[in-house]
């Protein structure tokens, strides 16, 4: 029964009605009610979270027969055989005046008429509640029992026992009267081991080394060599990334790239290669931000939580997205460390497993106070190199700065004294003029600023004229005027003009003067002619001289040097005496027809030095100080002079330049960043989300793990994620070790001891070998949670080393091979297929770690994303040939080859990939340009590695043998050699008839010396054929 989540509108009256669907028919009275099937699930999902083991509201419990029939604080609610006296029915119908409707609003979905009918029928039929229907039965589920340390079972053939694992497996086989399979041939075994532990095939040389090692312990030595390879971290890292739902983009409509996501992947690879114990490996990912003295690496590990989807689509509710992420974090933790499908309890108490909805949100609460941050995260090696380089640089840099300091202390004072003695202030000095009045013809406001400049505000009409009055009094006659045009944040493009582009056009600049003391009527200002205009910059065809010519149409402008200060100076034709106070009037005409090109901010200054003038001159303030008697300068004034001198002293400048030059060689700190999380300062309030709806909040819950499992001992009052990590690895946890070793077993055998690797709940399949599972779990614990160690233990067993050949006699008895009478034979994963093709062809660029790369993919492919949002520019050089796990994973358009071979879509934790076998896979291996390029290189490699062979039968067989060895890692049979040679000859003949085809077939591949285009083309086809064999992409 689904409720419409919205009101219905009846217009006209504009009344809104709440509306639900009409109630369904009552349950058929004739049917016989099965308590376990029909009634108990209702009680469990609707009632027990409040009337159960953890809360017994009103003293009522509906999870136990005795308590249910006793009733609660309000008395009996179930009277068998008498629905009319059973208050339970009136309560769930909402007809009870005292108690009202149960479950109450906010605590659960009310029962439907159908469900109430079921209860009524059950009561009428006598309210049968079988004794064995107690929920305690659930907790007796095997997976919640403590891990046992089983003793090894006796076997009839102890000679087969290489490891305790074998004892458990053999005992069961012997019970069934089945003999284990013989060991796989060495060539098969090394290939299996390489695929399982490294995800790469062995080279022919590695195969030969192992085949030729006749001393005892050859296999053990091989295992050690393989486990020491850095590619181990890539292989098992990829497995982990499946669980961690790693991707390089956000997902959803926008699907933005995550440029720093790879930094977390690097951490995973390195941690696994270092065989970091699994408890620490887990704790850092769950709570790396919270461990004491968290290092950068620890915080990078917390990026585990950042692999969730992230919705940036317009109109998305941010809180809803955060809740979705928190749910995903909770569920992912449940799958990885508990093997429980806790997510089922998001909307209602778990139907099958002992997890109530309340408990779900208690678990959720551990993750509810996460905030996302991106941090600076230099790679450890990068950081170390930087620190070394920085130390060397600092060492070289120090003497240069010391020289400067020494000069300043020891020689600068003399230099300054000598400089002062030379009367430097006799050069031109510009003194700012204080505007006493400033008007705009069209009403713009000219506001005086602290630096005596004027800033134009308000209206900005075409062709404004500014008139500025300035008072001046000087012992020396005035010889020049200076106009500075200044940038300002308030102006378009920061000015200095008011035009949209920040420019101005000064068409005319005029100076008038009158004695200030004279009465107004006698003081008609006199025009003072100007000459020799100069400026630091002028726009093409808009020179500053045009501001003092007779043409009103031209003028001074400064585009494109917008947003900066510019300077113009004008000489007075005759010096203007000003011993008496004099009023200067400057008229700035901006008669430009093309728009409102008026000045935005400007300042006027004068000088008394005879021309020619420099634009900048000597600062007036310093000039005044120098004019003072030395003894009269205050310390502040003395410092001003010294500071100024330091800016002009050439010797100091030389020394400082040396410092600056060297600083340019300073090593650059890393720009690598990482996605991480932090805990909010105050924890977020966590409440039950009724029916999983984040807007529909129920009761608050505390932070704690499910009650079916062991107690958590918090480190402090506030329980947090780090406590959770510790709790997961507590000795009493029956799940973590079992789930972990089972997952490892699944990777190595194709099927877990518990087949449902992500579900150990009551609905899971029972383990095929329960004692083996517990022995492995105990061993994992005893060995200190070292993943490599438990993997070593498993691969050294005879069970692992069995042949994978099918046994027809067991086809009916054990079709799924659950008895482990042989190894399994499975297609390898998408990434391994890619890696193998690149490896065999010699194209693989096998560098470890680093940012994600984009190998070639069909150009049309990313067009399927929203508005073509996922741009795919193919990586250059070697990055196009990296291992599959480094391929940029764009969630809405994942790399097609990976998806064709069942890579997970990385939207949620994936414990086991599906395995399909499709024609699109055939087309990919045949025709995908990446794979065909591999075939071309492989063809060439065959020829190069058999350079001495002649083109006769013997030579061709030798080449065919090499081709099979390179691709399948084993010797070819005679029949196979025959097939391969026949294929070669056939294709060679076809190609000889069509040289153009042969030429285009080899593409850009270089033909080896002593070989022909046709030969290379035919061997390319042979290589392509071998790389399309089932065996090529299968772990046997």
């Amino acid at each position: 029964m689904r409720h419409l989540p919205f009101p219905v509108v009846c217009l006209g009256e504009m009344i809104l009605l709440a509306c639900g669907l009409s109630a369904g028919a009552a349950a058929d009275e004739i049917q016989s009610i099965d308590f376990v099937k029909d009634v108990q699930p209702l009680l469990r999902t609707r009632c027990v979270s409040c009337h159960g083991p953890e809360l017994s509201e009103s003293g009522l419990r509906l999870d136990q027969k005795k308590r249910a029939f006793e009733g609660g604080d309000n008395g009996r609610i179930v009277v068998p055989g008498e629905p009319g006296k059973s208050r339970l029915l009136t309560i769930v119908s909402g007809d009870d005046d005292e108690i009202g409707l149960m479950p109450p609003d906010g605590e659960g979905t009310p029962l439907s008429a159908e469900e109430i009918g079921l209860l009524r029928t059950w009561i009428r039929q006598g309210a049968n509640w079988p004794a064995d229907a107690e929920p305690a039965a659930q907790v007796s589920h095997w997976a919640f029992q403590p891990v046992q340390r089983p003793s090894l079972p006796p076997v009839a053939d102890p000679g087969w026992i290489e490891s305790p694992i074998d004892a458990f497996v053999l005992a069961k086989l012997e019970d069934e009267g089945i003999a284990p399979s013989p060991p796989a041939p060495r060539a098969t075994l090394i290939r299996r081991l390489f695929f399982d532990l490294l995800g790469l095939p062995p080279t022919p040389a590695q195969v030969d080394t192992y085949l030729n090692d006749q001393r005892p312990g050859a296999y053990r030595r091989l295992v050690e060599r393989v486990l020491a390879s850095p590619h181990y971290g890539e292989r098992w890292g990829r497995h982990w990334l499946d669980l961690a739902r790693y991707a390089d983009s956000d997902g959803y409509e926008k699907d933005r790239p995550r440029p720093h996501a790879w930094r977390y992947r690097n951490w995973v690879i390195n941690a696994l290669n270092a065989d970091m114990p699994y408890d620490r490996f887990s704790a850092l990912q769950l709570a790396g931000d919270m461990v004491p003295d968290a290092s950068i690496e620890d915080r990078v590990a917390s990026g585990f939580h950042r692999n969730t989807l992230h919705n940036t689509e317009g109109g998305t509710d941010k809180e809803e997205d955060r809740v979705k992420k928190t749910v995903d974090r909770t569920n992912t933790m449940g799958t990885i460390w508990l093997g429980m499908t806790v997510g089922c309890a998001q909307c209602h108490s778990h139907k099958y497993d002992p997890l109530t909805q309340r408990e779900y949100y208690q678990l959720y609460s551990f993750f509810n106070s996460i905030d996302e941050v991106d941090i600076s995260a230099p790679l450890p090696l990068e950081q170390a190199q930087y620190e070394i380089a920085k130390a060397a640089y600092d060492e070289a840099h120090r003497p240069l700065t010391e020289k400067v300091n020494k000069y300043v202390q020891e020689r600068l004072p003399q230099a300054q004294a000598a400089w002062e003695a030379s009367s430097p202030q006799s050069s031109v000095v510009w003194r700012p003029l204080d505007p006493s009045n400033a008007v705009s013809r069209h009403g713009a406001e000219l506001q005086k600023q602290d630096d005596l400049s004027l800033l134009a505000k308000g209206t900005n009409e075409v062709a404004d004229v500014y008139t500025v009055d300035l008072l001046v009094e000087s012992s020396q006659p005035l010889t020049g005027l200076r106009l500075e045009v200044l940038p300002d944040e308030s102006l378009p493009k920061k000015g200095p003009g008011r035009a949209d582009n920040g420019n101005f056009v000064l068409t005319s600049f005029r100076l008038l003067a009158a004695p200030a003391a004279a009465a107004d009527d006698q003081s008609k200002p006199v025009e003072i002619p100007l000459q020799t205009a100069q400026a630091d910059f002028a726009q093409n065809d808009w020179p500053v001289a045009a501001a003092i010519n007779d043409n009103a149409e031209d003028g001074w402008a400064v585009s494109p040097q917008i947003g900066k200060r510019h300077v113009a100076t004008f000489e007075l034709v005759e010096p203007l005496p000003a011993t008496e106070a004099t009023r200067l009037t400057v008229v700035l005409d901006q008669h430009y027809a093309g728009g409102s090109h008026n000045l935005g901010r400007f300042r006027l200054s004068y000088t008394t030095t005879p021309g020619p003038h420099t634009l900048e001159g000597f600062p007036s303030q310093i000039a005044d100080l120098l004019a003072m008697d030395l003894a009269e300068r205050t310390p502040e004034q003395a410092k001003q002079v010294t500071d100024y001198f330091r800016t002009i002293d050439p010797e100091l400048a030389t020394l400082q330049k040396a410092v600056a030059n060297h600083a340019r060689q300073a090593p650059k700190a890393s720009t690598v960043r990482a996605q991480a999380v932090v805990q909010t300062a105050t924890p977020r309030d966590t409440r039950i989300h009724i029916r999983g709806d984040f807007l529909n909040k129920g009761e608050p819950v505390e932070t704690r793990p499910p009650s079916v499992l062991h107690e958590l001992q918090p480190r402090a009052e506030r329980i947090d994620r780090l406590d959770l990590a510790g709790w997961l690895f507590a000795d009493e946890n029956p799940l973590m070790a079992r789930v972990t070793v089972n997952r490892i077993w699944q990777r190595l055998f194709g099927t877990g001891i518990v087949e449902t690797v992500d579900d150990f709940g009551t609905q899971s399949d029972p383990p095929s070998h329960p004692q083996l599972l517990d022995w492995l779990a105990g061993e994992f614990h005893r060995q200190g949670f070292h993943l490599k160690q438990i993997q070593r233990t498993i691969v050294l067993s005879n069970t692992y080393r069995q042949s994978s050949a099918t046994r027809p006699e067991l086809a009916d008895r054990d079709p799924e091979n659950r008895l482990l009478a042989r190894q399994s034979r499975r297609r390898v994963e998408a990434e391994v297929i890619r890696d193998m093709a690149l490896h065999v062809s010699g194209l693989l660029v096998n560098t470890l770690g680093g940012p994600s790369v984009r190998p070639p993919q069909p150009t049309e492919y990313s067009g399927l994303t929203y508005a073509n949002s996922a741009k795919w520019s193919v990586s250059k050089g070697g990055d196009a040939y990296r291992r599959g796990l480094y391929t940029f994973f764009q969630r809405t358009s994942p790399y097609p080859m990976l998806m064709t071979f069942d890579s997970p879509d990385s939207t949620a934790c994936c414990a086991e990939r599906s395995l399909s076998n499709t024609p699109l896979q055939a087309l990919t291996l045949w025709n995908d340009p990446v794979f065909f390029e591999c075939a071309q290189s492989f063809g060439r490699r065959i020829l190069v590695e058999t350079a001495g062979c002649r083109d006769d039968d013997g030579g061709l067989r030798e080449r065919a043998r090499r081709a099979v060895k390179l691709s399948l890692g084993r010797e070819a049979s005679d029949g196979e050699l025959q097939d391969v040679v026949a294929l070669y000859q056939d294709q060679h003949r076809l190609l000889l008839a069509d040289p153009a085809a042969a030429k285009s077939l080899i593409g850009k591949t270089k033909v080896p010396t002593d070989a022909t285009v046709t030969e290379l083309a035919a061997w390319t086809i042979v290589g392509r054929t071998l790389m399309n064999l089932d065996e090529f992409i299968t772990k046997e």
Partner: protein
Amino acid sequence: MDRLSNAWQQSRRDFLTSSASGLGAAALTSLLAKEGVMAATVDHSNPLAPKLPPLPARAKQCIFILPAGAPSHLDLFDPKPKLRELHGEKPPESLVKNVRFAFVKKETAVLAGSAREFTRHGECGMELSDYLPHLGSCADDLCLIRSMHTDAFNHHPAQLMMTSGVPRFGRPSMGSWLTYGLGSEAESLPGYVVLTAGRGSSGGVSNWSSGFFPSTYEGVVFRSQGEPVLNLNNPPGVSAEMQQRGLATISKLNARRLEKLGDPEISSRISSYELAFRMQAAAPELIDLSDETEKTLDLYGVTRPEPKKHSYRGGGAHVYQQFATNCLLARRLIERGVRFVTLVHASWDHHSNLDEELGYNAGMADQPIAGLIKDLKQRGLLDTTLLVFAGEFGRTPLWENRGGNQKDKVGRDHHPFGFSVFLAGGGSKGGVVHGATDDIGWAPTKDPVHVNDLHATIMHLFGFDHMRFTHRFRGLNVRLTDQGGKVVSELLA
């Protein structure tokens, strides 16, 4: 282990006979898909082998048209004269109080009537907008649902809701469920094909994902030009003859390994390669329209001129031709036995410039879809082919006013509470208008149909009880209809 062998034994016994066998068969397929678990005597080389459904079926094949971005029901399918009268008025406060919008600002929102004229069509008198004249001529074959509602109001989640039953990533799309349950009659083509036109959709490939099923059941994107399927063409220099002989050697060497190890997966691989090889011939033949008559091309509008202006959300240089071609290809795929065809066009997300944008899209879609229905009918395929036209949600009866700025009141926002979809053929009832929304097209007042109800009904038409067609995943028996869904019997012919 018991579960498997039981299912296996039972499936063998009951296959095709009892009504429960469909479930057994589906479960079997899932088990078979796990490599390496089957006995050597079992031939499971083709997981797409055709299977019968457990219950009587009306539909055998499906064409699902996804107008991604969500078309306006108010301007195409659901006439609201009252809304026109109220044009420009403020909506009642109580209506918008507890509603979330993506972009509409509640404070300034006003009601917006449609500018479209609606007329009656066919004997049934179905009212459709003047943007859909060709579909109007099919009215008596259309089963129009005006009372749809959904759970999600952002595009990607809502598209997933429509295509896979839940507003989240990771579940199989409807086409995957049906090819998983029924296999495919097509011997040289994939069972589930996707054709796209216009820009990409918000959901991208997740709209035809196989979720937790193997990729065997994932939609395969066909393109109407060039290489129809990714990696279909041989590399340069490799002739068909060379390819065929290469395939022979692959089969021969695989057969040698099969003989030695007895793994049935190897024979499955051999079959996959053979199908791939057949596809290399069949797929180009599929998209080669030279055997279609001019009359047929005209019926679909394949050669009609493109509008001069095509710079729209749903536009592009040859989008009209592309969409019409896709509709024609859908028929050709159905003829060849393909189980499920998805046609995607994006985008119908008309937050602004509604009349012009929608006019362009409707002009693109109307004739080809009507042509497809008529063509299927005249070839006798409509009886067993279900056509579905369903966007992810509807659009608001309120003008969208981004940023509260009335100047931009020319579009409609996302609206999950009420919208329209239509079905044709495949056992759906023609000439029917099912359900109704209130006077402003806000929410259903009569016979509400949830997206999962639509799914349940579609499953019913294909001979599945949606409650029993399940797959065990992460401890749950998962079904297409998630937690809800009921068959809407009024939609059945």
